[in-house]
Amino acid sequence: MHSPILKVQNLHTWFETPTGTARAVDGVNFELYQGETLAIVGESGSGKSITALSLMQLVPEPAGYIEKGSIFYKNRDLLDLTWEEMRALRGKDIAMIFQEPMTSLNPVLTVEKQIVEAMQVHGTATGAEARKRAVDMLNKVGIRSPQQVVRQFPHELSGGMRQRVMIAIALSNNPQILLADEPTTALDVTVQAQILDLLASLQKELGMSMLLITHDLGIVARVAQRCCVMYAGQIVEEAPTSELLKNPQHPYTRGLLASLPSRARRGQELYTLEGVVPPPTRWPKGCRFALRCPNRMDICKNVLPGETALSPQRRVSCHLYNSDSAEAAVPLENPS
C-alpha cells in the first residue's frame, strides 16, 4: 500500500472528572493511508469520538486534554502546531462530519451561506465563485434541486438532506482526510445506505482518505477496506475488513461477531459477552477485556498485552498471540 497520510502514535486523551482521571483514549496507534477508508469500530464509550476529536484538537476543554502521543500529518506532528496553524488546517486538510448534523450546522444561516463561509475561511473561493461552487457541491452530494436547497435553512430539510449538506460543507475545501463520526446512525436504513454509498463514491472520486467511526460492523463491511476494533480506549485488533469478519482473532472481536443476530442464527441462542466495560477512571491493571474474556489466562489479569503482528496487515493485542505468554495454541474456536 502507499504511504500513510496520517500516523497516530501512542495517543492518550484523558479527562479530569470528579471520580478521577478518565483515560478515554489510552495508547492508540494506527495509520491512515492515502485514498483508503479505515473504520474504527467499537461499542459506545470505547473512545472512538474522543479519538477523532483529538485528531482535530477539539477535545472538550478544560476537562479533556491530550496527555501524550503524536499525530503525524505530512511529516509534521499536529500536536506541535500552534493554535493558529491548527485552525488553518482544520476544515481544510482535515474535515469532520458528525452523527447529528444539527450540532454542526448553524440554524440561522441558509445552506448557501454556510458552504460559502466554509470556503471563505480557508480562501478556497469567495463571492460569486463560492456561490456557484456551493451549488456544485450540493449537486455532488446528490441533492437534486440545489438551486432551491441553497436558500433553505437546516430545519427545513429532512435528516438525510441535512447529512448531505454537512458532507457538502465538509468537502467544500477538498480535504485530504475526512473524519466521519457515526455519519448515518440517526438515519433510516435506506437513507443510511444512500449516504454510505455516497461517501464511498466521493472518497474515490476525490481521492481523499476517510476515517469512519461506527459501532456497526455492518457499516464497516459495507464501506471500509481496513478496520480497527477499539475497546476501552485502545485498539485491540486491526485487519483488512474481509479478514477481520471471516477470521476474527481477538476474543472481543470474536464475541462481537458471534453476538450479531441474523437469519442464519434463527432459533439459536446468540453468543453474549458477559459483564460490562469497566469505567474509564478505573481500567483494570491487566488486559481490559480480561474480566469478560472466555479465553482468560492467569497473565491476563495482571499484564496489559502488547501488540502482536500476525501479518504485515494484521495485529492483535492479546496474550493468546504473544509467544512469551500464550499457554494455548492458536487459532481458537469461534464462540457460537
Binding site: 459495507r222 453476538s259 442464519a264
Partner: protein, 275 residues
C-alpha cells in the same frame, strides 16, 4: 405452543387520521398516519413491522394496544372487537397487553425503584395479595431477566441501558401478559447488550407462549426473531409474509430497497457461518 393458528389479534382495515393545522389560513387538514391496515398475529408468534420513521408503526402499535382509537376499522383481540367490550373489560385487557419502548425511560418512572416498578401492576390488577407474595414474584421476575436481587432497591438511573431495558421487560411481564408490543426494544443498545436482550425475549416467548408485535428498522434483528414480517410505507402495509417470503422472494420495490440496505456483513463472512 399447542394453540397455533389461533389469531390472538386481528386488525381489520384500520385507519388513523390526525388533524394537523398548516397553511396561512390555519385550515385543518388531516394526516393519514395508518391507512387501511389489516393483519393478524397467531398466539405465540411474532409479527415484525418494518418501515422508515414516520411510516406509522408506532401509531399502529398504540391502536393494537387499545391506547388509541382508530378513525375507521376494527381490532379483534381474542376474537372480539375492542368496540364491543365494556369499559371494565377493556381495563382488564390492559393487563394482558404490554409494551416495551426503545427508551426504557419511557416505560420506567425515574422516581420509582425497581421493587415499585415491578409490583405496581400487580397491585393495580390484584395479581398478588400480600406484600410477601409480591416480593417473591418481583424476585422471580429479576431472575427471569438475569438481574441480581439487590436491584430491587435501586433506581433506573443506577443501571446501564441494557439493564434498564431488562427491567422494563420484567415490568411488562409482571402482570402476566399474553401480548407484548416491542417498539424498537434494542435500537439504543450496543450489539453485545442487544444479544442479551434478544435471547431474553426469545426465551420468555417460549416459556410464556407470548405473542409479539415487534417494531424494528433493523432487518437483521427481524430476520432473527420474527415469524412474519409486515413492510410499512406511508401508513400502508405494502407487503406481508413469512421471513423467508420477504427475505427470499420480495415482491415490492420498496421491500427490495430495504433489503438492499442491509449491510453486507453476511456476504463478507461467507462460509464462516453454516446457514
Amino acid at each position: 405452543m399447542n394453540q397455533q393458528n389461533i389469531p390472538l389479534l386481528s386488525v381489520r382495515s384500520i385507519t388513523k387520521r390526525f388533524p394537523v393545522r398548516t397553511g396561512l389560513l390555519g385550515k385543518r387538514i388531516w394526516k393519514t398516519a395508518v391507512n387501511e391496515v389489516s393483519f393478524s398475529i397467531e398466539q405465540g408468534s411474532t409479527l415484525a413491522v418494518v418501515g422508515e420513521s414516520g411510516s406509522g408503526k408506532s401509531t399502529l402499535a398504540l391502536m393494537a394496544l387499545d391506547l388509541l382509537a382508530p378513525t375507521a376499522g376494527d381490532i379483534l383481540y381474542q376474537n372480539r372487537p375492542f368496540s364491543d367490550r365494556s369499559r371494565e373489560e377493556r381495563r382488564r385487557l390492559r393487563r394482558d397487553m404490554q409494551v416495551v419502548f426503545q427508551d426504557p425511560y419511557a416505560s420506567l418512572n425515574g422516581r420509582m425503584n425497581v421493587r415499585e416498578a415491578l409490583t405496581e401492576g400487580m397491585i393495580i390488577h390484584r395479581l398478588a395479595d400480600s406484600p410477601a407474595e409480591r416480593e417473591e414474584r418481583a424476585l422471580q421476575l429479576l431472575r427471569q431477566v438475569s438481574m441480581p436481587p439487590e436491584s430491587l432497591d435501586r433506581y433506573p438511573h443506577e443501571f446501564s441501558g441494557g439493564q434498564r431495558q431488562r427491567i422494563a421487560i420484567a415490568r411488562a411481564l409482571s402482570v402476566n401478559p399474553s401480548f407484548v408490543v416491542l417498539d424498537e426494544p434494542t435500537s439504543a443498545l450496543d450489539v453485545s447488550v442487544q444479544s442479551q436482550v434478544l435471547n431474553l425475549l426469545r426465551r420468555l416467548q417460549k416459556e410464556n407462549n407470548l405473542t409479539y408485535l415487534f417494531i424494528s428498522h433493523n432487518l437483521e434483528v427481524v430476520s432473527y426473531l420474527a415469524d412474519n414480517v409486515a413492510v410499512m410505507e406511508n401508513g400502508s402495509i405494502v407487503e406481508m409474509g413469512s421471513v423467508d417470503d420477504i427475505f427470499d422472494r420480495p415482491q415490492k420495490e420498496y421491500t427490495k430497497k430495504l433489503l438492499q440496505a442491509i449491510p453486507a456483513i453476511d456476504l463478507l463472512r461467507g462460509h464462516n457461518e453454516e446457514a
